[in-house]
């Protein structure tokens, strides 16, 4: 015991407590995955350069609505602190952000920022307050995914808005659940993780990463389902089919009847 006693410095107790706190904090950040790993470990020079590029891109493209510190502007754009890189990736890579105007639902459009710029802004936002991260390619791979479970989960939790085949559907006051026919696996994943706009959040403990891959496999697999007749009619079921029959074929039959009557009249003249 004496050697230890001899080595103890008067500040050693504080040092131990400080070290313990740091370890607990780092472990918490790593385990929960909500803390920014970039800030837990010292950011490399490359990461710092990316964050700096992201910051300047943010100020050019986003700050007018979300504020120069991403703190949000009341009534215009929400705070982006804590939304994470995943939210930025979803909004920017689908072209929804930067938004052209404030409207009920931001439509999907050609992205204005390239993938490199998107990742830079995502890194900048991630550095501000952490949040869900962009999934890796392996996390969104559908290899070996359980499509049947994916369908079951999709139908239980997603189909009421996005339609059972992912064709989308209307919400209230001009909002709508977009069709999922162009969404990439990473976009589907980040949408579930972050709950963009009116969509609820499906975090990793309620819908696990593996189940998210199953859902992605179902959604992307639906697209390759054949349409033997040549027309999918939006794959929204009997409503469109009935509408096409009612409006299209009924109109055709009325016109055909008029044509026959007109010819009949001529034949008697």
């Amino acid at each position: 015991m004496t050697p230890i006693k001899r080595r103890r410095h008067h500040a050693a107790g504080y040092a131990v407590v400080l070290l313990g706190l740091l370890l607990v904090g780092a472990a918490y950040a790593v385990l929960t995955g909500t803390g920014s790993t970039a800030s837990a470990a010292a950011p490399t020079a490359a990461q710092q350069a990316q964050i700096a590029e992201g910051r300047s891109l943010f100020e050019e493209n986003c700050a007018s609505c979300h504020g120069f510190a991403a703190q949000g502007v009341s009534g215009v754009g929400p705070s982006l602190i804590g939304v994470g890189a995943a939210a930025v990736y979803f909004q920017v890579s689908t072209g929804r952000m930067p938004a052209k105007q404030n409207e009920a639902e931001q439509p999907r459009k050609e992205p204005e920022l390239n993938p490199r710029q998107t990742l830079a802004i995502a890194a900048y936002i991630q550095s501000l307050g952490g949040g869900p991260e962009i999934p890796s390619a392996a996390q969104v791979s559908t290899n070996g995914a359980d499509v049947a479970l994916g369908q079951s989960l999709f139908i239980t939790n997603c189909a009421q808005c996005h339609n059972f085949s992912g064709a989308g559907g209307a919400l209230t006051y001009g909002k709508y659940a977009p069709p999922l026919d162009q969404s990439t696996p990473s976009q589907i994943y980040t949408a579930m993780l972050t709950g963009p706009e009116a969509m609820p959040v499906f975090n990793d403990s309620t819908v696990t990463p593996s189940e998210k891959r199953d859902i992605i496999a179902y959604v992307t697999g639906e697209r390759s389902q054949p349409n033997p007749g040549g027309f999918s009619l939006g794959r929204v079921g009997p409503v469109t089919e009935g509408l096409v029959v009612f409006l299209g074929l009924l109109l055709f039959m009325v016109l055909a009847a008029m044509w026959i009557a007109a010819r009949h009249g001529r034949a008697h003249e």
Partner: protein, 367 residues
């Protein structure tokens, strides 16, 4: 034209003639033992022809339709077209049968292709028949104007008087009035036969009893995520704006039970939940509502996290999630029932009890 479909058949008359009541109208040339007419046979109206009323004395009428077509050359061409249409219809009909055998429906894609080929071959067959018949009528058959006159629907007074007379005679001859024993036993015999189908209604199943007022949720039953069947802790469900469908543990594959017991849980930031939400039944801003719409029982789980409204996709009933799922809009008349919820000693979300009110459509309010 409709009056050409005479009701009675000669057989009826022969069978009825055994009643043996003498005919009353002297005009008939049958013997006195045979009635001139029996109930159910056509009244002694005038003779009918296919096209218009004949005179009392039928006479040779001129042809109404020409025997020859006006343009034999055109008819000849049309004949070939019609025959071609009918051959196409025949081939399409055969193709339907062949395709039925060739395209099996054991897979989803197989069913899709089967639908396509069966639909197109049958459609083509009907189209060929229809087009062929139309061209036949319009180009091969002669074109004539025909007039059909409208006659009053009621029978003539003579017919009605004859019917009444026959009916009275029949009643008298049957002894229905004069023999009360027969009449009463006949009525007694028919009443149970008439009641029998009503008894069979019981086979529509046992009465629902209180089953519509209860679900399978019980105290301590864990909430499992639907589909993946995992129990949840409040910590698992910690993202405000989160929503997930849950089912009662032990009934996750029981569709009959889930038809009433399906529940959505929604996570709110602290302080958002307000009465009339029963706050004692929530855990850390997590509230559980029945997923069954109180209007007609659709799964109401269309949750907008921006407005915090739950919508039913069937008829747009809108419920205010943080305020007890009260109805904001739409045909539903009462809030979605809230499931009493707590955490068990292991930290999992569990039910405190069954719902305190019936879930689903408010059937008892309809009267």
């Amino acid at each position: 034209m409709s009056d050409t479909s005479a009701g009675g058949q000669p057989g009826d008359a022969r069978r009825g003639s055994q009643a043996g009541q003498p005919g009353a109208e002297p005009a008939a040339d049958e013997g006195p033992a045979v009635p001139h007419r029996v109930i159910g046979t056509p009244p002694p109206a005038q003779a009918r022809t296919l096209l218009g009323q004949a005179d009392d004395e039928p006479q040779a009428q001129p042809r109404e339709l020409p025997a020859e077509v006006s343009d034999p050359e055109r008819a000849k061409r049309a004949e070939r077209v019609v025959a071609a249409c009918f051959i196409i219809a025949m081939l399409a009909g055969f193709a339907f049968i062949v395709c039925y055998a060739l395209f099996q429906v054991h897979t989803v894609n197989g069913a899709l292709h089967s639908n396509l080929v069966l639909g197109s071959t049958m459609g083509l067959a009907f189209l060929g028949l229809g087009v062929g018949a139309t061209i036949w009528v319009r180009q091969v058959m002669p074109v004539v104007e025909q007039t059909e006159e409208r006659h009053p629907l009621a029978s003539s007074p003579e017919d009605r008087a004859a019917f009444a007379k026959t009916f009275e005679e029949g009643t008298e001859a049957s002894g229905f009035v004069s023999r009360p024993l027969l009449r009463r036993t006949l009525i007694a015999a028919t009443v149970p036969v008439a009641l029998a189908p009503i008894v069979l209604l019981r086979d529509m199943g046992p009465l629902p009893g209180t089953s519509l007022e209860n679900t399978v949720w019980r105290r301590g039953m864990r909430l499992l995520t639907a589909g993946s069947n995992r129990p949840l802790t409040p910590g698992d469900f910690d993202s405000p704006g989160g929503m997930i469908t849950v089912v009662p543990e032990g009934f996750q594959n029981d569709d009959d039970a889930l038809a009433k017991a399906a529940v959505v849980i929604i996570k709110f930031a602290p302080g958002v939940l307000q009465p009339p939400t029963v706050l004692n039944w929530t855990v850390d801003g997590i509230v559980a509502y029945s997923k069954i719409c109180t209007h007609l029982g659709c799964p109401a789980a269309l949750y907008e996290q921006t407005t915090q409204h739950i919508l039913c996709p069937c008829h747009q009933s809108t419920f205010d999630a943080p305020r007890g799922a009260q109805v904001l809009f739409g045909p539903a008349t009462r809030p979605l029932p809230q499931l009493p919820m707590t955490v068990n000693s292991a930290g999992y979300l569990v039910a405190r009890s069954d719902f305190h009110e019936p879930v689903g459509p408010s059937y008892w309010e309809r009267s």
